[in-house]
């Protein structure tokens, strides 16, 4: 059990180091996901299985999907093609794959083990956590919900205002260009003085 804990911790630290030294954002994201999964294994080995599940679902699931989505939104234009070619180059993927295989072996070992308990101490299950969360920490839960609501409204505000402005600017732009064009055949010569041939 201790060996599994130390292996997972080493994988987490190594993946974080690799994340910091990557140049590409997507490569760094891959290593960050591996690091979060390794931290989830650490949680499981020290006896917090509910936290391990939350780590995988929320961190490695939701937040990393958000990061990937923003990376996808930011990579617009011509640069993307060269970047895609660079991503598909072999030689990048073995690092995260090896680390993830180590983690999978650990998970298989932990699941196959009869009493999946903790390092030294005993596991604290979701029941205790829930009783404490909705007992003395009820105010904290309400505050967290307010924080999430505020973040939702703020992110929506930040995301939507730019599009309105862009729309207005484009609208003005087409108006000006339409008025200044005058190059169509219908109105050709309409702005000449009357007496000239």
């Amino acid at each position: 059990m201790h060996v599994l804990f130390y292996i997972a911790a080493a994988v987490a630290i190594f993946a974080t180091l690799m994340m910091l030294t990557r140049l590409n954002a997507v490569h760094a994201l891959l290593y960050l996901i591996v690091s979060l999964l390794a931290v989830a294994i650490v949680f499981f080995t020290i006896g917090a299985p509910f936290m391990a599940a939350l780590e995988v679902i929320i961190y490695a699931g939701a937040i990393m999907v958000l990061f990937v989505f923003v990376v996808m939104l930011l990579n617009l234009g011509k640069r993307q093609v060269a970047q895609e070619k660079a991503w598909q180059r072999p030689g990048m993927w073995p690092g995260p794959v090896i680390l993830a295989i180590i983690l999978i072996v650990e998970v298989a070992f932990l699941v196959g083990r009869p009493g999946g308990a903790a390092v030294g101490t005993q596991a604290i299950g979701p029941k205790q956590v829930g009783i404490a969360l909705f007992g003395p920490y009820l105010i904290g839960v309400e505050l967290a919900s307010f924080l999430l609501l505020g973040a939702l409204v703020g992110a929506y505000h930040l995301g939507v205002r730019k599009q309105e402005k862009l729309e207005k600017r484009n609208d003005k732009h087409t108006h000006e260009s339409g008025a200044a064009a005058g190059g169509d055949f219908v109105r050709a010569g309409a702005d000449r003085p009357a007496g000239t041939p």
Partner: protein, 87 residues
């Protein structure tokens, strides 16, 4: 791990990488809470990790919206390019 995240925040100048480093730092703080909670066999550490998780989700939503805005304004993710708030 917290030191690694802090180093990443200070060293890297890419906004995405800085946000990821903040995630690493929050994760390290939560890990410390959970380990302490497991050491004394109390569920309070895990509850603090839940709170850290929700605050990290909120922070990353607003932060990524800001990054999108900044990228549309400056066409770059370099944190040094966005120095116009300097007095």
């Amino acid at each position: 791990m917290f030191a690694l995240g802090l180093t990443g925040l200070l060293v890297r100048r890419n906004l995405m990488l800085m946000l990821m480093s903040i995630e690493v730092m929050l994760n390290a703080a939560g890990l410390a809470f959970v380990v302490a909670g497991a050491r004394w066999m109390q569920p309070d550490g895990q509850i603090m990790f839940i709170f850290i998780l929700s605050s990290a989700a909120a922070e990353v939503a607003v932060g990524l919206a800001l990054v999108l805005q900044l990228y549309h304004h400056h066409k770059s993710l370099d944190a040094d390019a966005i120095s116009e708030m300097r007095g």
